[in-house]
Symmetry: D2
Subunit: 255 residues, 4 copies
């Protein structure tokens, strides 16, 4: 079981709610994925409309909502957004995202740490999206974040574990769950993330932008389970050479 803050989850796959063709498709993909936690951007909520069409289907499902501050460029913006999100969604859980860069949506390490520290003091359960920086992850942990969410590659790039060498160090050093977020574009990427010891992964674009999001959600679910199971069972070590095999000649000669 994955434990984050005071909650436990049997699924180690988190989903994003963006880019789906319709709320119905999102809802079906969420169901197919077996996820128990879904992130959604505060800016996509229509706070003034009681019947907004993204939040209702999410609320109807038995999942942990994880509002995020996507679009925030500073700690101040993120904190303000966090307060709004807590009020609107009635949860202190928060995916902290601060990315001043509009092209690659790369997270800002300075503002993220600053905001994380304050949000923890304000009672939030903070899961920060961050670069695959081992010292930054350690510091986010030290200010009280409930997990860290280092990126595998640029958001929406589907390029997989481009930061693998850094992620391995982060996983080795972390004492909070490491959730690899961004860039996972195929089930094999998610399995590889779990095999290197991630506690969970977050996937959005690869599912939402697939030709069949519902089926793809199921594929990611299986891959996450496969990778986690392999990590627990212990992968066989990599070898340079084959184990010597006895020649068939001996066998044939012995007939």
């Amino acid at each position: 079981m994955l434990r984050i803050a005071d909650k436990t989850f049997s699924s180690r796959l988190l989903l994003g709610s963006g880019k789906f063709a319709s709320p119905q498709l999102m809802q079906q993909a969420i169901a197919a994925s077996g996820t128990q936690m879904v992130t959604l951007a505060l800016k996509r909520l229509q706070l003034d409309k009681p019947q907004d069409d993204l939040l209702s289907p999410l609320k109807a499902m038995n999942i942990q909502l994880l509002p995020n501050t996507s679009g925030a460029k500073t700690a101040q913006e993120a904190i303000f957004a966090a307060e709004l999100a807590r009020e609107a969604l009635q949860t202190p859980w928060l995916k902290l995202e601060i990315h001043p860069d509009p092209r690659y949506l790369m997270p800002d390490p300075i503002e993220t740490l600053l905001a994380a520290e304050q949000l923890v003091k304000l009672g939030f359960v903070v899961l920060p999206y961050c670069s695959a920086d081992p010292v930054l992850c350690k510091r986010l942990e030290q200010v009280g974040c409930a997990a860290v969410m280092p990126l595998g590659a640029a958001i929406g790039s589907n390029q997989g574990l481009q930061t693998r060498a850094m992620l391995e160090i982060i996983v080795e050093q972390a004492t909070v769950p490491v959730i690899i977020d961004a860039g996972l574009g195929a089930p094999s990427h998610a399995a590889a993330a779990m095999e290197l010891g991630a506690a969970a992964v977050l996937v959005n674009t690869a599912i939402a932008a697939s030709a069949d999001p519902v089926v793809m959600a199921g594929a990611f679910s299986q891959a996450v389970n496969a990778g986690r199971t392999a990590y627990k069972a212990g992968l066989a070590t990599t070898q340079l050479h084959a184990t010597a095999s006895s020649p068939l000649t001996d066998f044939l000669a012995a007939l």
Copy 2:
């Protein structure tokens, strides 16, 4: 469904029977993997002993036995071994392996093609283990092989899809099933093989040499399903850049 020659299989994971600590463990891993086809080396059969301990548990399971000619160094040896195997196991199915090299067990393209051609004429259902060579695979197909089994990396190396660029060409050009064999060391490798369009994978060392072969067999099974499902659903394309995201500022300003 995977169709090879005149048979269909719902599982796309083939297993090897070598390197297990005991026949019991092998049997349990096979069951956990859901595989419907298991390869075993003729040279490991104790043909003169009615109660040999490798074959009996395999026969008791409802799976296709795929005897292999591991250890053969020439086409002649392989053909002789194939005849023995057909007689002993009462099946024309054959994994053709000819590897003169004892260090890496690399297959011999010349002897393999020579043997394949003759074995097809002799009525065998031939699945040749071969290097990841697109022209060789095409020729093996042309002489009547029921599938081709190009290597991902050296046998037992667990290094994954080291020959990926060649495998992609092989899959693109093949009209028989491509079964990626050798080198797959983790469920993520198996998923990646399926995502690039392999019809199936064969795994042995990574399961048998795992700390927990039974659990690992289940992990590979899931990963193969995940990769195949993703291939069928259509993976999202790789992007260099993130899709531009609307800034939170606009949202906050609109409140």
Copy 3:
């Protein structure tokens, strides 16, 4: 020509001075590399000994000394060390290194930015060692750093451009020279760094720990030139397919 702050350099290879078997070997390797800038750790200077044996040979060469703050764990320590170094070496040039982590010597993004900002105000020419974090590099540039020095892999690991995807974004966005530092273990790694657009590279372990540091220094020098030249000339694009070739049959038929 590489321009950093108010100086120009014809060599784009920077060297570290650590791990050499002797000062003589270091001196010879520096000469063979053609470098015009060498970094040295303040902590290795023996400030109280006029005839210390690391500094003298460096001073005798016509190169820019680049003292570094290796071993500093906080901005405060680094600034104090920088002041000592400026006094001792009579240069405001500084490689800023702050790494609280003794195992991988990973740089601290927060303390590094904090120190960089203050050191710039104190008149230093600051070249910060940092993680391959695009936003951090942009911020270091904005506080006035003369260059940024993102890591390719862990210091001393010789693993090459493990952070390649992030380095490409950094190079694309930078307006100051990007000097790739740490992890470059072979001339091919240095060439690849230059081909992706780095302004320079810094190499230490791969030269100093080589069986023949002097010869290896020359090899790195050539590789840096080769990579830079290729970048300027324009690399041919990557293709999936071969260009169709005319069959020999037509030629033979025309004879």
Copy 4:
């Protein structure tokens, strides 16, 4: 010095003569590369024209001409072409290329070995282009080839050492020079090929299709030298961890 058959070469970079915008550009690139061996397709020779424009500039340079059988689809075609080439160019040196596949120009292992064996008997110095297949390379060596030329990636693809794991085995086992051919798209690829122990590399597209072939030829020349030098000097080993560094605190405390 590189020794192939009875000749020695100080340059370890071979060039192809295809795809240059003009014979003049080809000639300048050859000169800039420092190469001593250039391959040219028999089919591009205009045997009936005394003043054909590809051969004359090549003959004017002091280099070993290496005619190739590009476009041949069978051993028979290749042998016929080889005889023509020997007659026309007055050299028994031959790059053997047999690729029935027009899309990727992948070499045929069976026909190549068949032709190689006969060509050796006919007195040719045979350098066969082949897949990165360790057993095939060993067999080509055993029938008397003067070198083997396994591919790094598809011809003209510029994708680099995609077959690296196989090339390492080939180099380890070879007793004739291994010349890595096809796919090398950047100087860093050529350096990496030399670092893993190749005796030489052959480059064509990456130079001829560059925006500045002459400058690029020089860059490849430097990279080949750098890689070879590093191989001879001995690369430092790859490490997972940094070597522990003494903290600056101790130094500062000792002041």
